[in-house]
Amino acid sequence: MKNPYSPTRLVLLALVLVVFMLPPIWLFLSALKPQAEIFQWPPTLFPEHPTLVNFINTMSKARFFTFFKNSAIVSVLSALLSVTISVMAGYALAKFRFKGDTIFFLLIMSSLMVPLQIILIPVFLVLKDLGMLDTLAGVIIAPAATPTGVFLMRQYILNIPDSLLEAARLEKTPEWRILWRIIVPLSLPAIGTLLAFNLVWRWNDYLWPFLIITNQDQWTLQLAIANSIGRFGIDWPKLLSMSVLSVLPVLVVFTALQRLMMGGIMAGATKE
């Protein structure tokens, strides 16, 4: 009965679209400008001489694909790892009562409050002791435990009825099979969303790769983007084109996984 397209709503909607779309669009359009035009005064919104040269320059460097590949490997594997251990921990915290469960939960949540920036050197020493420096494995494993992920999974798994697990136990199902065949498939919406989140987090992450990686062969895109800010200035064409190129895959992944997002997980997130 309520018409969602009332005039006030549409005006507000237009405003929202402008405010939220303008900066990314500006970024994108600027990447299509030749260097001289990027800082031209008065500025142009639409490129006067649109060109793909910035992209071509960026992509024609063989390195770019290495960075891209590294980013992809890191974000995919790290996200998978992160989701896996989050599901495990979330399951344990949601469905088992064991000695210390609250303490574990509090410890995990408290790590949400530790910004990496303030513990860089101790973390670096740990990484060194574990032999993870300058390896993609380090970038994949070190940031994999996310309190947010554990929290989301726990909230979601809480909603899976106990009776399903009990039914399975009555049927003599081994615990690992319960996890793999019941908990995992039933948490798919949450897993999908968390996966999407993790992909984005890891893809956009700068600090961890910077901390771990020195060798350029293992650089991720974000390192390459940061590197376009030099000692004496910014390599704008490179920065812009890399930024745009780095955002595109995220957008694609998100659009693909968006359906999962809307339904499942958020409901879990807030059901306190």
Partner: protein
């Protein structure tokens, strides 16, 4: 063996230059190969601290400052090559490589800070730029710049890199410097004089520079403004020459950099360092020696558009008269500079003053603190640094 070489760059072209030189060395010395590791410049300090904390060092690194924290790891070239070798280099920059009776770095290139002008704009406005020999003072130059800007329709008279080392040149030119020129290092600041110059600088920033440029948060990029023909003059340094030569769409020239009570630039540039933790120390030293030797220096300087640090390097032809002239002018500014233009920045203590200095100046320009407070902060940072080193 394979040497791990840590480097920072400004753009892809520079990386290519470095790689080609490394390849050249490998061609001549097949047993030595390189693993070039590029790091974002802003992360160098942190990287070095990580390395120091964990004791894993590269074999060779490029550095502009030899962070105090890595100094204990640096190989002594005096021991490895002999005490005479360092005398081959530009003195002001070579002094920075000394630590006590050691030489802990090899000068790679030298930069000079100075002024660039858009000569097209001057021509359009019908204003003359004085000759290098004649020079001019700030008081003479600023009104001229404004006049040129107005007449030529250029947006801004003056842009200035937002950087502590570009700023301190202005102080140098009024005889102000931070540290004693000779050991033992002491803070020798005359706060009143410093404050006066800072006041002048602030006035100038309000008068002739784009609004907000120096308050530290501006999104405006002095280089892009100048390159885009939006500024008449640009206070920067010799490293801009290659880009200007390649990309500027107008005629330009370097200098004369205005003077205060004296003429001054500031020594800048990069060093190569080797680490005594390296298992390949001998190879690293040989490479550094080659890289800073006359032949490689000339090649490196030509391609990078920098001033060779090695005095024996052949005269460099930068392939473009504007560029060659500019390099010569910039070099001249260095030669005309007082001793402290080299020593101030050469003291290791200076490394922990740059940060507070930039913050203090930009706060003063932003009006958050008075000039006197800003200078006091700089003074304190310097004093602290001296204490911390003892």
């Amino acid at each position: 063996a394979q040497l791990k070489v840590l480097w920072y760059i400004d753009d892809d072209a520079q990386e290519a230059v470095v790689r080609s030189l490394l390849d050249e060395y490998t061609a001549a010395h097949p047993e030595t190969t390189f693993d070039l590791q590029i790091t974002p410049y802003s992360g160098m300090i942190q990287k070095f601290q990580q390395f120091a904390a964990s004791g894993i060092m590269p074999d060779v690194a490029l550095t502009s400052s030899m962070e105090p924290i890595i100094r204990p790891f640096l190989a002594d070239f005096n021991k490895e090559i002999g005490p005479e070798w360092i005398n081959d280099f530009v003195k002001g920059w070579a002094d920075g490589a000394r630590l006590g009776d050691k030489v802990i770095a090899a000068p790679l290139d030298v930069t000079s800070t100075g002024m660039f002008f858009n000569t097209d704009a001057f021509k359009k406005a019908g204003v003359e730029i004085p000759s290098q020999e004649k020079g001019w003072t700030w008081e003479e130059m600023v009104p001229k710049l404004k006049q040129v800007a107005e007449k030529s329709g250029t947006r801004y008279p003056l842009v200035w890199d937002v950087s502590a080392s570009r700023w301190i040149v202005h102080q140098f030119q009024y005889g102000n410097h931070i540290f004693s020129e000779k050991a033992p290092v002491k803070v020798v600041m005359d706060d009143a004089k410093w404050t006066k110059s800072l006041d002048d600088f602030i006035a100038m920033s309000k008068d002739a520079m784009p609004p907000g440029l120096w308050s530290g948060a501006s999104s405006d990029n002095p280089k892009e403004l100048f390159m885009g023909g939006q500024a008449v003059a640009y206070m920067s340094g010799s490293w801009q020459i290659p880009t200007l030569a390649e990309k500027a769409s107008f005629k330009w020239q370097a200098g004369p950099t205005p003077s205060g009570t004296v003429r001054s630039s500031i020594y800048g540039g990069d060093y190569l360092v080797a680490f005594n933790t390296s298992p390949n120390l001998k190879e690293s030293i040989s490479f550094i020696k080659w890289m800073t030797g006359p032949k490689a220096q000339a090649e490196f300087a030509k391609k990078m558009g920098v001033i060779p640090a090695n005095l024996k390097a052949d005269t460099v032809d930068y392939g473009n008269t504007m560029a060659s002239d500019a390099v010569k002018t910039m070099q001249g500014e260095l030669n005309a500079s007082p001793v402290y233009a080299a020593t101030d920045q050469a003291w290791p203590q200076m490394q922990s003053v740059w940060g507070p200095m930039k913050a203090a100046v930009s706060q003063a320009v932003a009006g958050q603190i008075t000039s006197a407070e800003a200078i006091a902060q700089i003074h304190k940072a310097a004093t602290d640094a001296v204490e911390a080193q003892q």
